[in-house]
C-alpha cells in the first residue's frame, strides 16, 4: 500500500525554461538507469529477498525512488512549461510534440521508450543486489553528466541532491550484499 504526500521530497522551483535540458533529463525518467526503472526494479525484486532486512530495504528504497520519479517529472514539466511550437522545433522536441503534445513520456535521452527489460530481475538475491549496486552507480554517473550539461543553479541543486541519494542507496545495498555473503556463506559472489 502506498500513500501520496502532497510535497516533492526536495523543493523544486525551476524558473528558466530549457528545452534542450528537458530533452536530456528525460533519461532519468524513462532511461535504463532512470528513477522509474529503479523504483520498479527494487519493488519487483523484493519478493525473493531471503530475509526481513532485504524485504525492508528494497521496499523502502523502491518507495523513495517513486518520489524521485515525481521529482524528475516535475523538473521536465517545469523546464518545458510555456514553450512555443517554434521553441520545441528548435530544440528537436517536435517529434515529442507530435506524439505527446506537452505531456510527459518516459524515454531515454535518445527518445527510446521505457521498457520493463530495465527491471532486470533474476530471482537470485546476490545477482539482483549486484544489479542494484551497479544501477545506483550508473545513475550517479548519469547525474554527473547532466550536471556538466547545465549552468542553471535551480536545476543543479536538485541534481546534486539526487546524486547524493544514489550514493546512500549504493552504500545500503552494498552493506546488505556483504552481510548476505557472510550469512548465507556465498562462495560465488
Amino acid at each position: 500500500m502506498w500513500k501520496y504526500e502532497k510535497t516533492t521530497q526536495y523543493p523544486i522551483n525551476i524558473k528558466r525554461k530549457d528545452l534542450r535540458l528537458a530533452k536530456y533529463l528525460v533519461t532519468q525518467y524513462g532511461g535504463s538507469n532512470g528513477e522509474l526503472a529503479a523504483a520498479f526494479r527494487y519493488l519487483n525484486q523484493r519478493y525473493t529477498m531471503p530475509d526481513e532486512k532485504g524485504r525492508a530495504l528494497l521496499t523502502d528504497i523502491g518507495t523513495e525512488e517513486l518520489a524521485h520519479v515525481e521529482m524528475i517529472s516535475t523538473m521536465i514539466y517545469q523546464l518545458m512549461k510555456g514553450a512555443s511550437i517554434e521553441e520545441l522545433k528548435k530544440a528537436g522536441l517536435d517529434a515529442h510534440y507530435a506524439e505527446h503534445g506537452y505531456g510527459l513520456y518516459p524515454t531515454d535521452a535518445n527518445g527510446v521508450p521505457f521498457t520493463v527489460a530495465y527491471f532486470a530481475t533474476t530471482g537470485d538475491f546476490m545477482a539482483d543486489l549486484s544489479e542494484d549496486m551497479a544501477a545506483e552507480q550508473k545513475a550517479r554517473a548519469v547525474y554527473e553528466n547532466l550536471i556538466d550539461l547545465t549552468d542553471d543553479p535551480d536545476v543543479i541543486d536538485v541534481l546534486l541532491y539526487l546524486r547524493q541519494r544514489e550514493i546512500v542507496h549504493f552504500t545500503r545495498f552494498s552493506e546488505l550484499y556483504h552481510e548476505y555473503r557472510k550469512k548465507y556463506k556465498i562462495k560465488n559472489a
Binding site: 500513500k3 501520496y4 504526500e5 502532497k6 510535497t7 516533492t8 521530497q9 526536495y10 523543493p11 523544486i12 522551483n13 532486512k53 525492508a56 530495504l57 523502502d60 528504497i61 523513495e64 515525481e70 517529472s73 516535475t74 514539466y77 517545469q78 554527473e144 550536471i147 543553479p153 543543479i156 541543486d157 546534486l160 541532491y161 539526487l162 546524486r163 547524493q164 541519494r165 550514493i167 546512500v168 542507496h169 552504500t171 545500503r172 552493506e175 546488505l176 552481510e179
Partner: protein
Amino acid sequence: MNNNYYNIPNDWYNDMMNDPFMNNFVNTNPNYENNYMNKNTNNINYEEGLDRGNLFNNLYNEYKNYKYRKLRANNPKEELLYTILKHKFLLNDLNLYLDIYPNDRGYIMEYNKYLNNLKKAMNEYESKYGPLTVDSEYVTKNNVWNWNNNLWPWEGIK
C-alpha cells in the same frame, strides 16, 4: 497538556524520555539485548541533511567543486514546509540505515526525536495551509473538501 484542537500530543518524545518507567523499560527489556548505543551520532548532519541530500557525514561526497545550496524559505508557509521536508528526509535516511542496523539504539532515539518534531510541524502546517495527505484530519475541515485547495507540488511552492 494537549492544547491543540485535534488532540495530537505535542511532545510525546520528551514525555517518554522523562518517564522513569520508560527509561527503566528500555534498559531492562530483553528485546534490547545485544543492542548498542551508537557513539557516533555526530556522524549525522541534522541541520543540512536535506540541503545536501545526505544525512551521514561519512557518506557525503562532493562532485567536482559543486557546493550544495542551503534552502532558504521566502515566507512562513515555505519555512514550515521546509521544516517538514527536513524531518521527513532525516527519517527516511535513518529508516534505510536502521533497515540494515536495526539494533542501533542511538539512532533509534534520534528517529523518535525527529518523528516527534515532524508530527508537530505537520499538525501546524496542515491546520494553517491545508492537508498534505488525503487521510489528514484537515482534509474536510469546516465541512469543506480541502484536498485540492492548495497547489500540487509540480506547480511550484508559493
